[in-house]
């Protein structure tokens, strides 16, 4: 049985752990708020981009001369995976879930005889995938969320890398594996295909209505195909930016939940240890009393 002093030390150490986890939870909560704000502020652009894509796509007929970002290279042999995680740990299964999905994806692609390359966005992706797939990782981005959170510059960096490699003919299909943020308690790892990009279903050929609900027929300057070709790469950076924001918000939410659990567990542990400590102390007192009494009787 541990001595009283050992119990006291244990309790003190768990208490300081609890202080740290509860502080981390508070920090995560405030960062989550900020990240959610940033995600919300990015909504109008993403929506505008999607609307524009739908309008342009409505009248485009795909042919061999269509942009390759849209129709692909005609092969599905070489895959590029962009795996997006957080830079830091201590956020529950947040990073592990993405990496697990990435691993499964890589394995199943390899089982089909496909060639796979990986771009890591986030330090944890690199650290966790390096051991199994070190030779497949072609580029790693870390420190994506600086002091002011994620910026579009970071997204542009990643999409530039992807697009450059695509232009150089390094891969046929690009998939983004990242956490989708569905709420504070729900982040789901998902794989989304970036290249070739599937156009949103153009169910409204008139594409767009004015405020009175009258369909508007658009004119294109310089022309539909040129705009489409210019839109596609920007759409990819927009997708990546949205994923980065989602991932940033998800990370903080996951950390908040994890730290909340840790704080609660630490509290339980302190209670348990306190009971054990009190019992031990009482046993010690009783034993001393018995010794004194039996000593007195012996005299």
């Amino acid at each position: 049985m541990p001595s009283l002093k050992e119990y006291r030390n244990r309790i003190a150490s768990v208490k300081s752990t609890r202080k740290i986890t509860s502080a981390m939870k508070m920090v995560a909560a405030s960062k989550l708020k900020k990240a959610q704000g940033a995600a919300e502020a990015a909504q109008p652009y993403a929506r505008g981009m999607a609307e524009m894509m739908a309008r342009v796509a409505a009248g485009v007929t795909l042919g061999p001369s269509s942009p390759r970002l849209l129709i692909g290279t005609g092969s599905e042999q070489r895959h590029l995976l962009v795996v997006m995680t957080a830079d830091r740990g201590l956020c529950g299964g947040f990073n592990g879930n993405v990496v697990r999905l990435a691993r499964q994806t890589v394995r199943s692609l390899q089982a089909q005889g496909r060639e796979v390359k990986i771009i890591c966005a986030g330090r944890k992706a690199r650290d966790l995938l390096r051991r199994d797939f070190g030779s497949l990782i072609v580029r790693s981005f870390t420190d994506l969320s600086g002091k002011d959170g994620v910026g579009f510059t970071q997204a542009a960096q990643i999409s530039d890398e992807v697009l450059t490699r695509f232009e150089d003919g390094e891969f046929d299909v690009c998939t983004l594996v990242s956490n989708r943020f569905y709420g504070v308690l729900k982040q789901v790892p998902e794989a989304a295909r970036l290249i070739p990009f599937s156009l949103p279903a153009a169910n409204d050929p008139a594409s767009g209505k004015d405020s009175a609900g009258i369909p508007v027929v658009y004119d294109f300057e310089p022309d539909r195909e040129t705009i489409l070709a210019a839109l596609l790469p920007r759409n990819i950076s927009t997708q990546i930016y949205r994923a980065l924001l989602d991932s940033a918000a998800g990370e903080q939410a996951a950390r908040m939940t994890a730290m909340d659990n840790a704080t609660r567990n630490a509290g339980d542990m302190i209670n348990r240890l306190s009971i054990q400590y009190n019992r031990a102390r009482q046993a010690f007192i009783t034993r001393e009393l018995i010794e004194i009494i039996s000593g007195a009787e012996a005299v």
Partner: protein
């Protein structure tokens, strides 16, 4: 619709960057740097989707004498008769551009250009130089 009927009407104007809505206001007139040349947008403009090159957007806001000038690094304009939205990857008010910083960036890029090996990277650097030049023009204008 006669031109003089529409000139004084306002329409809603939005300037949106990936990070936030930079501007959202009723406007009397907007001048946009289209890929094929600058064009003006007034209320009642025909529906148009245009590619934009780096340049300055002039926004005439109701009740303000001087137009607001905002530099964009290119993007897209979505115009309907009663609305105009610009999606730009970067949008900065011209007053906030820093001439010295642009000069420095241009020098760096010129150096990069001499070091560039293949045509693809050269083309990328040239595109960035064009953006910086447009930025410089915006400051000096």
């Amino acid at each position: 619709m006669a031109a003089n009927e529409t000139t004084h009407k306002t329409f809603s104007f939005d300037l949106i960057s990936p990070e936030r809505r930079v501007m959202s206001t009723p406007a009397r007139a907007v001048t946009v740097p289209g890929e094929a040349g600058e064009f003006g947008v007034l209320s009642g403009h025909m529906a148009l989707l245009s590619d934009l090159r780096p340049g300055v957007v002039f926004v005439e806001v109701e009740g303000e004498s001087a137009p607001r000038r905002i530099f964009i690094t290119g993007g897209f304009a979505d115009v309907t008769p009663d609305h105009c939205a610009i999606l730009a990857e970067e949008a900065i008010p011209v007053e906030m551009l820093d001439g010295a910083a642009i000069d420095a960036a241009l020098n760096d890029l010129a150096e990069d250009l001499t070091l560039a090996r293949d045509d693809a990277s050269r083309a990328r650097i040239v595109a960035r130089i064009e953006i910086e030049r447009a930025r410089l023009n915006a400051v000096q204008a």
